[in-house]
């Protein structure tokens, strides 16, 4: 009897301790989010103005004179929009092929998945330098096109991996149903895409989040400029690089502007994730559980 009661007490305490630890871990993450947002708002708010997001940098912008970083915002959106579209166009066929055409235990699928896992782990600076080497080989200068291609390379593994996770749990019954209605393998793509639509939305969100915040891959490939690119061969500015260059300036106003740029970057990501969540919910209404 004595042992039992001690044991019960111990279990009770154990339960309590671990609960407290879990709550602490959750709160720590939350605290990180709050402190990051607090820092960029506190430091960037003073520099934040409508001019910042609506004007191109003026003559003395980088020594604290007037202007804004519209060039970086537009450049970032260009690169991210184009590479997300390209990435989707490349990775949906890959995921479809891996999961519908190849058998469950096929060697090729195994090797391909391993390759994507390796690509997933490669740091973005390596992509950047790889892209730079290729561009030198072809005699290209830093340009919007180079940035788009390298960022596409960077996010394709993210696309494929997160879509593949969803597509592997795809119920085979649905495929059999489509086949029994006389669909060819290719014609099942409509069904497959509808079923993994929430996965596609999540993947897009993840990769856009990664692409828009990545400085290393665009540093050598897209370059930096004070104007908005009008063709694919012109260099383009990006928000992470705007943060980087302004933060390394010794002048306080310029540093504050870096935080303002970081604030804009965070806001864009925030808007994207909120709308992404909304869209995901909309897409998953048809999904078979």
């Amino acid at each position: 009897m004595y042992f039992v009661s001690v044991n019960m007490k111990f279990k009770f305490i154990e339960e309590k301790i671990f609960r407290i630890l879990m709550i602490a871990a959750t709160l720590t993450v939350f605290a990180f989010v709050i402190s990051i947002i607090y820092t960029i708002v506190a430091k960037g708010w003073s520099a934040m103005s409508w001019d910042m997001v609506s004007k191109l940098p003026g003559g003395g912008f980088y020594i604290g004179k007037e202007g804004g970083f519209l060039n970086a915002i537009v450049g970032s959106l260009y690169i991210v929009g184009a590479s997300a579209t390209l990435g989707l166009m490349i990775s949906i066929p890959v995921v479809f092929y891996l999961n519908v055409y190849l058998k469950k235990r096929s060697k090729m699928a195994y090797i391909a998945r391993m390759a994507y896992d390796v690509l997933f782990g490669i740091p973005s600076i390596v992509y950047g330098s790889f892209g730079f080497t290729i561009m030198i080989y072809f005699g290209l200068r830093t340009s919007l096109l180079g940035g788009i291609i390298v960022v596409t390379l960077l996010i394709i593994p993210i696309f494929i991996r997160s879509m593949d996770e969803v597509a592997r749990r795809f119920p085979r019954d649905i495929l059999d149903t489509a086949y029994s209605l006389g669909a060819t393998r290719f014609e099942t793509i409509g069904v497959v895409i509808r079923q993994i639509a929430p996965g596609i939305a999540t993947a897009t969100l993840l990769s856009v989040g990664r692409a828009i915040g990545d400085a290393a891959s665009v540093m050598f490939t897209a370059g930096y400029t004070d104007s908005i690119p009008t063709s694919l061969s012109q260099p383009a500015a990006t928000l992470p690089l705007a943060v980087f260059f302004q933060l390394s300036s010794p002048i306080k106003e310029v540093q504050d502007r870096a935080y303002a740029a970081a604030l804009v970057l965070t806001l864009i990501v925030l808007i994207l994730s909120i709308s992404g969540r909304f869209i995901t919910n909309r897409f998953s209404k048809n999904k078979l559980q």
Binding site: D173, D176, T177, Y179, S180, L181, G182, V191, R194, K285
Partner: protein, 298 residues
């Protein structure tokens, strides 16, 4: 063969479009009403003969011999019930009939399956055309991840019907055939997964019928359903048999007793006894059949 869809005797619609003004005054075209000359649903008689002959069929999956030298006939416009204990190859047989076994790894099929005289195993038959002739209804209803309307229209769309008016008529026609129209006519655009499980099964039936098959393969179609839904499905099958050859795998002997015209008894991958329902149930020839029917094993 004439295009199957053109042979449907669809009545002419009288009132197709109407301009309706919504409350906020924006003009909008909506397909409000499609009225038929014929007030209620009737089957369009399928005059063709639809039969399946299977001879010397052997199916191996990896090292397992699943079906052993199967010979059978699926008669025209009858309900054929395949009965037998679990794991005896009933489902494999059914899936082999429309070659859904293709996607299984390590499968090897030998023998002959003639669907309306056409060998579907050996020759390079275009399998999608064969599959389209056979509507498959699985054990658990499996609606496609789309709306109710799109579920029924999916088959027609992949076979090239794009005309919305026609699609609407087809959807209405076959939802009626499956006895579902009255229940879902106001919510055709809602996801199919929101239907109850019995409704989903009838939706699957409507979806299979919409591609104009000649056979219906039902793999324990009622085993996941409640008694009332399964009764509805059974009644539908009895009604549909005037037009389609129906092959049913069933676990419940009572169900086979109620609706079967023709019975195939399988045991361990072999066909033990075939014959009309009356013969097999009243005068079983084989010892195993007698045992199974008396409930000695199941």
């Amino acid at each position: 063969m004439k295009s199957l869809f053109t042979t449907i005797a669809f009545p002419v619609e009288t009132e197709l479009r109407k301009e309706y003004r919504t409350k906020n005054g924006v003009g909008q075209t909506i397909w409000k009403k499609i009225r038929f000359f014929r007030p209620d649903y009737k089957f369009v008689r399928n005059e063709g003969i639809s039969e399946i002959f299977v001879s010397g069929l052997n199916v191996h999956i990896k090292n397992n011999h699943i079906l052993k030298d199967v010979n059978l006939t699926i008669p025209d416009k009858k309900i054929t019930c395949i009965i037998g204990p679990s794991g005896c190859g009933k489902t494999t047989l059914l899936k082999t009939l429309n070659r859904l076994t293709d996607s299984v790894e390590g499968v090897k099929i030998t023998g002959k399956i003639l669907v309306n005289g056409e060998d579907i195993i050996n020759s390079g038959t275009e399998i999608t055309r064969i599959r389209r002739k056979m509507g498959l209804i699985s054990q658990r209803p499996c609606p496609l991840p789309m709306s109710i309307f799109d579920n029924v229209a999916y088959g027609c769309r992949i076979h090239g019907i794009r005309n919305r008016r026609k699609l609407r008529m087809i959807v209405k026609h076959y939802l009626n055939a499956a006895g579902l129209w009255e229940e879902v006519k106001d919510r055709l655009r809602t996801p199919a997964v929101r239907l109850s499980i019995g409704q989903q099964q009838r939706l699957c039936l409507a979806r299979s019928l919409a591609v104009e098959p000649q056979f219906i393969l039902a793999d324990e179609a009622t085993s996941a359903l409640d008694p009332i839904s399964s009764k509805t499905i059974e009644e539908l099958f009895v009604k549909l048999k005037q037009n389609y050859s129906i092959v049913m795998v069933t676990h419940t002997l009572r169900q086979a007793l109620r609706i079967a015209d023709h019975v195939i008894f399988m045991y361990m991958g072999e066909i033990i006894e075939t014959g009309s329902a009356e013969e097999v149930f009243n005068r079983p020839q084989h010892e195993l059949t007698k045992k199974y029917l008396s409930g000695a094993f199941s």
